[in-house]
Symmetry: C2
Subunit: 422 residues, 2 copies
């Protein structure tokens, strides 16, 4: 079967000809995701929702050999699509409840069809609106701990583990994160046209990037990210890749998986939760009390997510670690200590790279008042700096939270003092 | 071409039919290596020396799908042979002076033909005789630093580096070292018949293996060995895999290569040099002065090898590191500090696993007096324990040497005090 570069017009024909998902007589309609504001996807791939008259719907995702948003000028391996369908299968064997069901894989055409999670919402945009998801920390801690444990050599046969490492070596996609998360020289900023950027924002970023000690620590964290071949990680676990409601959570967009450090996904995600914590000092909605409560909600997500992670990881270890590991809980504790330090560092990296650059960040961009937006950015950069530089001193998730809250308190004290003087 | 399971009788026919190494009329003779005491090889593979009447000779090495010494009962991947020829090519592009020249590779038959280094001697047996190799520390430091640097991502393109990691993932061979170096449960001891073992030796090993804190540290070091994908390492760099004379050094037996920590080969090799340092307290040959001088020689090899490593690594970095690394010598210094700590740990692991078990160790087995032999073993285990447990406190090669010398002095003080009392 030759390559079919699907269009909204040919998607229905494809679904009817090559899959049995819908009965032959079904009347199907198609919608290309990315047209709506809160769609969240459709930046990198072509993503279609196909529905029948009864409301049953599925998602078809096709990779083309470039980034959709930038066109043929920014080539990208189509193998990402096959890897994504395979990693969904691996993870579905571990935690099916957190993955969309896979219906159809067509490697030759770089596409697959999976469950439409459209009943759920993209977490980032819900957090921006102040929605809460009380089950999220437990669900996410559970997902991360089980995914990490059961794809690590603590559980897997050594040879199988190395086979997975090769299968998901994924060099072309990894290079993207290895560059944008840890280095100033982001090729994305060089190759696409970005808005000119607020000069105050640029100066704040420059100040941080010029700090040598920080750059060295970013290189060290990049070294861990690139060299530590521990378990299969998602590689791009931010709040736009989480579909959620009050009961269910689904993880999507798995094009960056690789055998990496168990701390990297948690750190990356926590960076995103910190943005919301910071943003809710500045949102005009609600009352002072409700905003404080929402910030506390974000802090609780961070604490409870990591606490749940450690709890579930320990249960997995006690049940399923190879005897040579199970006999030494001291080793598990050492791994979890490293995990906490690295999570702290990777959370900081994500914030340095994102807020230190001028690529869009919906969590802050939603703040209409420019002074508020820059205040959020400044605080984010201060917290990021502390998370990276102080990570070796951190022993628990409470230490991380103390660091965040201490920097925040000091920041607002300084701001208040400056305001009183002027 | 179908698989030819060569025998001493068919080796000549093969060489004449499939290579142009010797003229058609050459009168060739063949010798299977492993028949002589100091041959050193022929334990794992079939290795033949083919010579013509003028004395020109080459080595043919063929892998069979099992360990030669144990027969078909201990299967082993024949892919090791192809990997070996490929890693020789990679390393020959970096440091040709330390590798045998490759003449002919026949992947289908799991064999290759390379330079006969028979003019050189196997280092281990020369050290046991008290020979010195003044150029060795510089040669080895140079070899290790260049091999490590130019196969790391500090120099290589990120995507090329990951390609090499997959090509040399080598899971079946790695599992051997991952087991015997760090775990008590050595499958080798389980599957082959070993001499019953001296009860005193067994008790000493048991005492060490029962120390929980040590076992946890061995698991941590094993984690570094298995997970840190930094540069291509030899994987089995002991003194029997070094061919040497006063001018030349050649590294042989590269069946265990993989992308691992830059510290692992150095640590493994230093463990072997420490055996000689210890053994020369007990050799009956020479005078007290000459034995002391020889022990000092071994200590100097350790110091100078690691000093040279750091010097050459720094030169490589300044010349050839990618700009984003070259601009941050602080990061290089951090890598070299980690290198020293890990070398210390890996040296200890090698000694714990080798002396803590009852597999033969020529460096000590040559000591005729049983009390001396057990004294050497006891001291080796004490040093090994210190190297593993104290590695995080070590900041320089001098710290490692101080540790070795301090434990040695205390050990002999205790022995003397016990002797004076009895």
């Amino acid at each position: 079967m030759s390559f079919k570069d699907l269009t909204p017009n040919t998607v229905i024909e494809y679904i009817q000809s090559y899959t049995n998902i819908f009965p032959a007589e079904a009347k199907l309609t198609v919608y290309e995701i990315g047209a709506g504001d809160d769609d969240g996807d459709g930046f990198v791939n072509h993503v279609y929702r196909i529905s029948d008259a009864d409301g049953k719907s599925v998602i078809l995702k096709q990779a083309k050999p470039y980034l959709k948003a930038f066109g043929a000028g920014v080539p990208l391996t189509t193998r990402r699509n096959q890897l994504e369908s395979e990693i969904i299968k691996v993870r579905s064997a571990i935690t099916p409840e957190y993955l969309p069901t896979m219906y159809h894989v067509d490697a030759a055409n770089n596409l697959f069809v999976y469950e439409d999670c459209g009943r759920l919402k993209i977490m980032r945009f819900e957090l921006i609106k102040g929605k809460t998801f009380p089950k999220f920390p437990k669900q996410m801690g559970d997902f991360l701990a089980k995914s990490n444990f059961y794809t690590s050599e603590i559980y897997l046969d050594q040879i199988v583990h190395k086979g997975l490492a090769c299968k998901f070596m994924n060099p072309e996609m990894r290079v993207i994160m290895e560059t944008i998360l840890f280095l100033r020289e982001s090729f994305i900023e060089a190759e696409i046209e970005l808005p000119a950027g607020d000069p105050n924002h640029i100066i704040m970023g420059d100040l941080l990037w010029e700090k040598r000690e920080l750059r060295v620590e970013l290189l060290k964290l990049r070294g861990i990210f690139m060299k530590k071949s521990e378990c299969l990680v998602h590689g791009d676990l931010h709040t736009s890749n989480i579909m959620i409601d009050e009961n269910e959570m689904k993880i999507i967009d798995m094009e960056y998986p690789f055998m990496g450090p168990s701390s990297s996904d948690t750190g990356y995600l926590i960076g995103n939760l910190i943005y919301e914590y910071i943003a809710w000092f500045h949102h005009p909605e609600g009352t002072q009390t409700s905003r404080r409560a929402y910030r506390q909600e974000m802090i609780d997500y961070i604490r409870n997510l990591m606490t749940e992670y450690q709890k579930v990881y320990t249960v997995c270890w006690e049940q399923d670690a190879k005897p040579m590991y199970r006999d030494y809980p001291e080793y598990r504790e050492a791994l979890l200590r490293d995990y906490i330090k690295e999570v702290c560092g990777f959370a900081g990296c994500q914030m340095v790279s994102r807020v230190g650059g001028i690529v869009p960040l919906p969590d802050f961009d939603v703040l209409q008042n420019l002074a508020s937006r820059n205040s959020a950015r400044r605080l984010a950069l201060l917290i990021a700096d502390a998370l990276v530089m102080k990570r070796e001193e951190v022993e628990s998730v409470d230490d991380i939270i103390n660091l965040i809250e201490t920097i925040t308190t000091r920041y607002f004290e300084v701001m208040k003092a400056l305001k009183n003087r002027s």
